[in-house]
């Protein structure tokens, strides 16, 4: 089961779960995904150790999509 999670004050929160053959769950995950991007989060998919990609549309095939806040120089 694929998951959309957001890193937050609780550690992380699972916002949606879906499988490739569950269209309704995938659509709900896509809605949650867009809401989080509009709220200012960035979505990242890990691509093996040492690599990650930012995505702007929910990748249905991904196992885990992580939402993060922006970073800035301190």
């Amino acid at each position: 089961m694929a998951r959309l999670i957001r890193m937050d004050r609780t550690g992380h929160t699972t916002l949606a779960e879906w499988t490739a053959d569950d269209d309704a769950a995938l659509a709900a995950a896509a809605v949650a995904f867009r809401e989080q991007l509009e709220a200012g989060h960035y979505a990242v998919v890990t691509r093996g150790e040492g690599h990650a990609e930012r995505v702007t549309e929910l990748p249905a095939e991904a196992e885990l999509v992580i939402l993060r806040r922006p970073i800035a120089g301190g």
């Binding site: 890193m7 550690g11 549309e57 970073i71 800035a72």
Partner: protein, 217 residues
């Protein structure tokens, strides 16, 4: 759809994107700057003793200055990894930190997970060298292991538990290493041994390991 450039670089559009050449130049400039601060004191110490041996105490003071200035800069660099710099309004809940640690552990390999448990820092090989990622900053150990760049950078949410703050930086680094170095503020560049002495004792092992990795180990 996937994108490659770190979006946060748009907020620092005036900065030149950091690459291998830019890092080399900045390292040289730091060395030049340090020399400009210390050489006059050393020269003054030598001249004073040469003119009048009774001025040896004044010469010693000048030498202390020459020693202290690079040390202060190195301390500034080491401070980027200090958890005390965190500006969280409240202490993170233990449960939140445990949850965050689980996610961070899933993002890295066994060796990195072990090093993080011992030192609080996550090592990450990159194209520019070996990174040590902390809660509010990162060190970049350059290939060869002799020079370290200290970067001040943080996640823009003070309520995050510490492990999540590290995960934020790690993910951004993995998305776009050059963009990450562009967004971050360079606090110090200099000798690894100088930074090591100013790190918290528990973190020194991580810098040793990063140095070993940067030497090809």
């Amino acid at each position: 759809m996937t994108t490659t450039a770190l979006p946060e670089t748009a907020a620092v559009a005036w900065r030149e994107r950091v690459d291998e050449r830019a890092l080399h130049v900045r390292g040289r400039l730091w060395t030049l700057s340090t020399s400009a601060h210390t050489v006059p004191f050393v020269a003054t110490a030598g001249v004073l003793v040469g003119i009048e041996p009774f001025l040896a105490p004044v010469s010693a003071l000048a030498l202390v200055h020459a020693w202290a200035i690079p040390e202060l800069y190195a301390k500034r660099g080491a401070n980027v990894l200090s958890p005390h710099r965190r500006r969280a309004p409240v202490a993170p809940a233990e449960a939140a930190q445990r949850t965050a640690l689980g996610l961070l552990g899933d993002l890295v390999g066994h060796a990195a997970r072990d090093l993080h448990a011992r030192t609080g820092l996550v090592p990450e090989r990159g194209a520019l060298g070996v990174w040590l990622v902390g809660e509010a900053g990162a060190l970049l150990v350059r290939p060869g292991g002799r020079r370290v760049h200290c970067w001040c950078v943080r996640a823009d949410d003070p309520s995050l538990p510490p492990a999540d703050r590290t995960a934020h930086l790690l993910l951004a680094l993995r998305e776009d290493e050059h963009g990450f170095a562009t967004v971050a503020n360079l606090a110090f560049s200099g000798a690894r041994w100088r930074v090591r002495r100013r790190l918290a004792p528990r973190m020194r092992g991580a810098l040793d390991e990063a140095g070993r990795m940067a030497r090809g180990g």
